[in-house]
Every structure is written in structure tokens, then in C-alpha cells.
């Protein structure tokens, strides 16, 4: 176990992405870092945050040290407000009850499109990945926060396959394809936090993580990045944030 002073990339990701959530929101969280970060936000400063899981849970209240292996396990239901069918919880997105979707990502492009289906040509894939799950539904129907490791091979100009739509081909293309709501809101990585330009819908750095330079972010990104004129530097993880995170995930299931 790392000492108090060392923070792993996954821990940083969980803490910085938890800061994107607001008290009173309804958040649809995927398994892994999103589940952990949403729980961190709920326990630390947003007791009114309502967490939804695609297994069919409203108002999840995850128990420290009992993180579920997926968002479909009975551990997700402990102390929840409601369990319901998995189609029913996904339909809440379509009806409009969800403020923000929160997912991890394997590969992302300049417009925030996510790929979790194929590496290489889908007709003859080099690697078949697990697929969308609820990712496509969440990203089609609500505003999205994505938390992911920042590597050049994961931040590409064009994804091999659009599993979960971001802003598609930029500008008004998302709306024209029939997706009238939602869209990529924030991408949080172990290097920086990004939003998307309101007109072009291209990815833009708005805050650097502590000790990270613009050059380093660009060097780890497979397309030319924009940087916001008022580029911020994120506050480092506080002792309180780290302590709560390690209390929630003592086995380091998600933060190894």
C-alpha cells in the first residue's frame, strides 16, 4: 500500500472527477472509478447526490470495503432507495431524470466519442472489446463526464469505432443525427481536465493537474489540443479526500 504522501494515478482520477459532481444532482455511474468517485463525492461533500446504477438501482449508498464487482451485483442494492428493472433505470435517462452520466473510457477522440467495441477494422477486428453496455444509452441521452487514463494510444484523432457518441463529427452533427440532448461535458484524466468548445465541439484543456505542463498533455495526446485562455491548475488531492477514498476502497479494487 502506498504511503499517505504518494497518490496513484487512479486515486488522482477518482478525486478530480468526484469534484465535477454537484450536490443535488442525479448521476448515472458506471462501475470502477465512476462508482468510487460518485461515492466519494456523496460521502465527502454532496450528501444529496443521488447515484443510479444500470443494474437497476436508485439512490445507491455503497458500503466502504464492499465495492461491487459490477453495477449489477446485489452489493449495489444495499441501503438504496429503490431497485427496479435495468430497462426501467435506463429509461429514466430517456425521460430526462438524469443530470449527468459518469463513465470510464478505453479510447476517446477529439470530439469526445468513446470506443469500447473494436480495436482495428470492425469487419476484421484486431481486438474485440466487451462493448457498450449502457454506455451508448447514457452518452446518447445525458451530459457526460468521462474519467480515464491519459495515454497517446487512448487519445486519438478518430476512434476506430463510435460506441458511445460524444459530439460525433463536431459542430451540430450530434443534434443532426437525432441526439437532441446531452453530450460530452468533461473529460478528467491523470494529466488534466477538459471541456469541449461550444462551437467546434473539439476537446479543450481547462485545468492542468498539479505539476503537469501543457507540453506533457499535448505529448500524450494524438491530436492537436486547444488550451483555455484562463487555464487553471487543479488543487492537489487533500488529505481528507485521500483518507475517504482509501476508507472506501481499502483493498484497492479500483485504485491500484
Amino acid at each position: 500500500m502506498p504511503s499517505e504522501s504518494t497518490t496513484t494515478a487512479s486515486e488522482l482520477l477518482a478525486i478530480l472527477s468526484a469534484r465535477q459532481l454537484r450536490d443535488g444532482q442525479v448521476v448515472f455511474a458506471g462501475v470502477g472509478i465512476p462508482l468510487l468517485a460518485a461515492t466519494l463525492a456523496q460521502r465527502l461533500r454532496s450528501p444529496g447526490l443521488t447515484i443510479l446504477f444500470e443494474g437497476g438501482v436508485i439512490g445507491a449508498f455503497i458500503e466502504p470495503g464492499r465495492l461491487p464487482p459490477s453495477t449489477n451485483d446485489q452489493r449495489c442494492t444495499a441501503r438504496a432507495n429503490m431497485v427496479l428493472g435495468s430497462a426501467e433505470v435506463l429509461l429514466l435517462l430517456q425521460r430526462g431524470y438524469v443530470d449527468v452520466g459518469f463513465m470510464g473510457g478505453a479510447q476517446i477522440d477529439q470530439y469526445g466519442n468513446l470506443n469500447s467495441s473494436f480495436i482495428g477494422d470492425p469487419a476484421r477486428p484486431k481486438t474485440r472489446l466487451p462493448g457498450t453496455g449502457g454506455g451508448n444509452d447514457i452518452s446518447s441521452l445525458t451530459a457526460m463526464i468521462v474519467a480515464m487514463k491519459h495515454e497517446k494510444r487512448r487519445f486519438v484523432e478518430h476512434v476506430d469505432f463510435i460506441t458511445s457518441p460524444g459530439w460525433l463529427r463536431g459542430r451540430t452533427s450530434r443534434c443532426e443525427s437525432g441526439l437532441g440532448t446531452g453530450g460530452m461535458f468533461r473529460v478528467v484524466t491523470d494529466l488534466a481536465v477538459f471541456d469541449f468548445d461550444e462551437e467546434t465541439r473539439r476537446m479543450r484543456a481547462i485545468a492542468l493537474n498539479p505539476g503537469v505542463s501543457c507540453e506533457r498533455v499535448q505529448a500524450n495526446t494524438g491530436f492537436p489540443l486547444a488550451f483555455a485562455p484562463d487555464l487553471q491548475v487543479a488543487e492537489p488531492p487533500s488529505a481528507e479526500e485521500l483518507a475517504m477514498l482509501r476508507y472506501l476502497d481499502p483493498e484497492r479494487k479500483y485504485t491500484a
Partner: protein
Amino acid sequence: MPLDVAHPSASQYPPEGLVPSYAQLRKELASRDRSLRRKVMSLEEATSLVNDGDTVGIGGSTMSRTPMGMIWALIRARKSRLSCVRSIVSSDGDLLYGSGICDRIITSWFSQGILWGVSKVMRHHVETGSAAYDEWSHMAIGMRFRAGAMGLPFMPIRSMLGSDVVRQRPETIEMICPYTREKLLLVPAINPDVALIHVQRCDEFGNAQIDGLPFMDVDLAMAANRVILTTERIVSNDQIRRAPDHTRIPFFAVDAVVELPYGCAPHECSGVYEPMMRHMESYVAQVNANPVDGMREYLEQFVYGPESWSDFLAGIGVEELIRAARAGRSIDDA
């Protein structure tokens, strides 16, 4: 081109036969014996309700309430050419592909579990082309079951539009809504030939009660043309009638009842046991190290080898079963 319902062109439609006609759907249902009768049978007897080439709907999701015992029995019965459809697929999909009884899986996510990365068994079969994985969004799978359960040929949805997931699915149709002039995606009903569903309890007629997450199992049961229930225990009809608000599947939708304690092992059954993680971890290590030989050895040791389901459970081990049961029964203690 989106389909304009006011001016449809025949070439824009998917092939005929993808969805059964309403007459066919009603004929299938009318031919079933829906009388109030005892349906209890053995696991082996229940396998005769599944025919080679059937479309099989599988209840539960990921590692939860998976009818693993029924899948185990179908592998032992050497079924073939099954197409399986489920909300999210875990190691059940590995076993279906690896045993060769299934050559197509229709789902939204397929790997053993997020903790273990990408299933090498799934990758091996899909990347070599020996089996197909048809990917739909999770909600689309739910709406396909829902349409089937409602006796309707399709449901409109607002996701999948604009993505490459929809480009892989010629079964879908983009439509301009005649009311709002907005784009919608139509997904076809799915009425599986047979559904496999595991529940905590049911009576001998098939009135089934489900605790915890119901997933898509009610729609699946109502959409399917036959339903096989496996259950942790068979209870009296009086007990069902004491809590009718817990009954999720009515007896007339059920064709077979099999009492099968620990019927989801090594997956979980809400309130009864959690996943048997030691078994899962060693399984994943073995098949991901070698998706062909590792799988063959697993099937020999844990599927073909055991004399019975109890013998299979003995292979998982009493200590592991008790650990899983203790965790499952204490889920609401917090």
C-alpha cells in the same frame, strides 16, 4: 436515409421473418398448455425443452441470477447452434462459446467482469469468426424484450442513433416520428424460443418470486415462447399467495420448474449467496491464459466430469459455498 412512414419504400426494410407475424406469435402461445398444472421436473428433463438452433433468452445480468445450472445442463446435453440473448453476458457466454453449443450471442456487453479485463474466450471465438457477437445498447436489448412481451413488432428508442453500434445493426430502422417529426430508432421485438430464468422461489405451477434486482426477467418471460424456471427452492402455493405482490412471473407463462439450490453458482443469487470469487478468479486465470485448452480442461473438470449439480458444487468446495452464502445473506445488515 431515415424511413419516412408516410412514404415507405420496400427496399428500406430489413428482411422479412426477422420478427414473427402477429398471427404466428399468437399461434405459438395458443399451442402451449397454459393450464394450472404441476410442472416440476429434473434438470436433465428440462433440457428437452430446448431444441438445437433455438434462440435462448437468458435471465439475470453479468454475474447476478445467471441460470448457470441450466446452461451447465444444456452443455452436458450437447445442444447445438443456439443463439443466446441476454442483457449483459459474463462467464456464461464463455461457456456457451467454449463448449460449442452456441454460435451467436446477442447482448450489450460481453466479458467475464470489469475486474478481469477482456475475456480471451470471447476474443478467441469472435476474432477467429467461429462465433458471432451482435452488439446492441443495453436499453435496446431491454426494449427488444419489452416489444416481444407486449406483442408488438418493435419499439422506438432515442439512443444508438449516430453511433457505429447502429451501423452494425441492419435489423434497426431510423424513422421520422409522424407526430413530432423527430428522428427515432426502431428496434425489432425479440421473442426467444425459450427463456432460462433463475429465481429465489416459486411454486410447483411456476408462480415465481424474485428478490433484489429484477433485471429484464419479467419482459423476457412474457416475450418467450417457452420458459424454464430454475429455483433456489419450491414453496407451496399458499406461501406464494401470502405475498402476491412479490410474484413477478405468473404460472401460465412457465413451462418447467426445476428446484436447483445454488443454481447460479459460481455467480450470485440476491439475498442467498454472493459470487464464488475464488472459483471465478481461478476460472478466469485458467481460460484467459489459454482460451482453447484452458476452457477444454475447465469443461472436463467442472461440466462434463461431475455426476450431478451437487457434485459440481462439491468441486467448488463447501468452504467457498459457505463464504458466498454468508456474504449474500448479510447484504442488508449494514
